[in-house]
Structures are given as C-alpha cells and as structure tokens.
Symmetry: C2
Subunit: 193 residues, 2 copies
C-alpha cells in the first residue's frame, strides 16, 4: 500500500517538474516551486530524487525511452519500408502529444545537463535518429524513394518533426494526427502540383 | 579616426560575444570573459553597451535584420513565386553560413531575454516567417503548388531550415549551398521515386 502511494507521488512529481521546466525553464524553476505544486515538503522530495539535475536527467531519459519503445518495434516490423516510415512519423506525433512537457523539456533543456548526463541523453537521441535514417536508407535501396542524401534527408525529416516544438500545443487547434498527416504528405510528395 | 576605432571595437565586441554565447551559452558567459577575449577593460565595455542583455538583444535583432534585409527584396521581386521561394531558401542558408554564431545565438537564447525584449525579436521572426508563408500562398494561388495547408507548410519549411542549427558547422563537410539545394529539392519534390 505504501509502495503504491510512493509510486503515485513519484509520477506526480515528474509530471509537475516537466510542466514547470517546459513552461518556465529549468534554471528558473526551484525545487521549492515543484514541492509546492504537488504539496510535498522539500525534505520528503529527497526520498525520490537526489537533486534537481537528477530530476531533469530522468525526465529527458524517460522522454526518449518512451519514444524509442514506441518506434523501435515499428522500425523492426515486417512491413514495406515506406509504410513503416509513415507509421513512425504518425506514432512520433502521437507520443509527443501525450508527453509534450517531457519531450519539449528534453529538447530545450538538454544543455542544462552536465556533459556526462547530456551524453546519456544524446546517445538515446542518436539511436532514435538512426531508426529514421536506417528506414530512409531501406526506402532508397528498395527503390521506393529516389536516390538521395540519406543523412541530410533524415536531418530534414527530424528537423521538420522537432520544429513543432515552436508552435504545437496539445490544446491548440491542430490535432496531432493531422500534423503527422500533413508532414508525412509533404515529406513523401513535396509541394509541387 | 577615434570614431573608426570605436566602430571596429564594437564589431569585435559583438563578434566575440556571439561566439561565446553560441559556444558556451548566454548565462554561462560572463562580461569578464567577453572583455578578455577582445582585450578590453570592463569599464571600457560600458562605452558600447549598457548590459549583457543589451548585447544579446542587439545580436538577436541584428541577426534577424540581416536575414530580413536579404530576403525581403527577393520576396518582393518580380519573379515567378516558386523560383522566388527557391532563391529565398538559398539566400537563407548563405546568410546563416556567414553569421552562424549570431543566428544560432538568436535561436537558442531568445528565452534568455526579458519578455519585452523577447517580443522585439519574435516580432522580427514573425515578419520573416510571413515572407515565406506569403510566397507559399502565392505558389498555391498560381497553381505552382498543389492545394495545401499554407500555414503548416510554412512551419514545416522553416522548421526544416532552422533544424540545421543542430548539426551545421561553417567548417563542417557539407557546404551551405549544398544544404540549400538538398532541402529545396526535398521540399519541392518530396522523396518518392
């Protein structure tokens, strides 16, 4: 029973911290504000974490692991490569819509981590990028895509996808499934009539 | 003669500050480090600027004004809209290659500005985005592009273009003109065979 309460508290803590980090920025958010948000004493907080950076690192790693956990099985599925890529883009936007505070904190506050901790997160990001790069490469080999610079094309796709950080809001007018559809269509077919 | 020296000093100062802000981050860079880099006393620095934030604001505004100054005449030129857009993308990458420290500082450190100062820069960024949005809209009206969501398409293009911040290096292996070519081609034609 106690373990369950602790677990619930921990989930609340990470959710509140990600919300504050995303909204106000990591350095502008104090441990005190986080405690006040979830109604916990500062002394109790250290049952769950060792430091504020610890909290940020866990948020970033969890955000990437959630994405990897969703995308990796698709990338490895027995499916035509272009359909695979389309599904990966769909699921990417769906996952981000569900975890936008965590994901945007991960993108914006990466540099607030110490170099060693930052490396842990960029390692996960690189693994994520590799899934897209590899799938694009497969599309070229299978003649589904024209011959193109795979590395730069993957950069362009991921860049386009990540740029939604500047304007996407989970409560905004554009539904995440719709963004995925528009971006996929652009990437696959371009703008030409 | 003195005026010329002051002007040269000022150029050096902004160049050094943009380099340090881009490399180490704004909050991790001290006025002292900037002074040491260009060999100037702290007391002399305040002939040129009022504060560190002043320096950041000027770097951001200048970065945007340089881009606007280069792109606005193209957007208003008497040229077919799709060729116009292609030229805008080319010139965007050429300008960023020339002012990468200033441009990346502007993107990364926008949130380090006070709300009022931030608004001055986002106002310029919005004007810049509008030039691309308007040109895409013209392409759709002139049936050069298929019918598409203009706002989202402009977001996708600008997102793709700005994402180069994560991997582009002016001394790296990919030449900026080549990036522009690859990204234009992707945006216009998509990846399909």
């Amino acid at each position: 029973m106690l373990t369950e309460t602790v677990r619930v508290r921990e989930v609340e803590l990470y959710k509140a911290a990600a919300g504050l980090f995303n909204k106000r920025g990591y350095s502008a958010t104090s441990i005190r504000q986080i405690c006040r948000t979830i109604g916990i004493r500062e002394s109790s907080l250290y049952h769950y974490i060792r430091s504020k950076e610890d909290l940020l690192l866990n948020i970033c790693e969890k955000a990437m692991n959630v994405l990897l956990g969703a995308i990796e099985p698709i990338a490895k599925a027995d499916l035509r490569s272009d359909l695979k890529l389309k599904k990966m883009i769909d699921v990417h936007f769906a996952m981000i819509a569900k975890n936008s505070n965590e994901h945007y904190t991960m993108i914006k506050e990466l540099r607030s981590l110490s170099p060693a901790n930052r490396l842990r997160v960029t390692h996960l990001r690189d693994r994520y990028g590799d899934l897209f790069r590899k799938t694009i490469e497969d599309c070229v080999h299978e003649k589904l895509f024209r011959s193109l610079d795979v590395k730069m094309t993957a950069f362009a796709l991921l860049g386009m996808m990540n740029s939604s950080i500047r304007w996407y809001s989970p409560v905004g007018p554009v539904e995440s499934g719709n963004i995925a559809k528009i971006f996929s269509d652009l990437f696959f077919n371009g703008v030409r009539k």
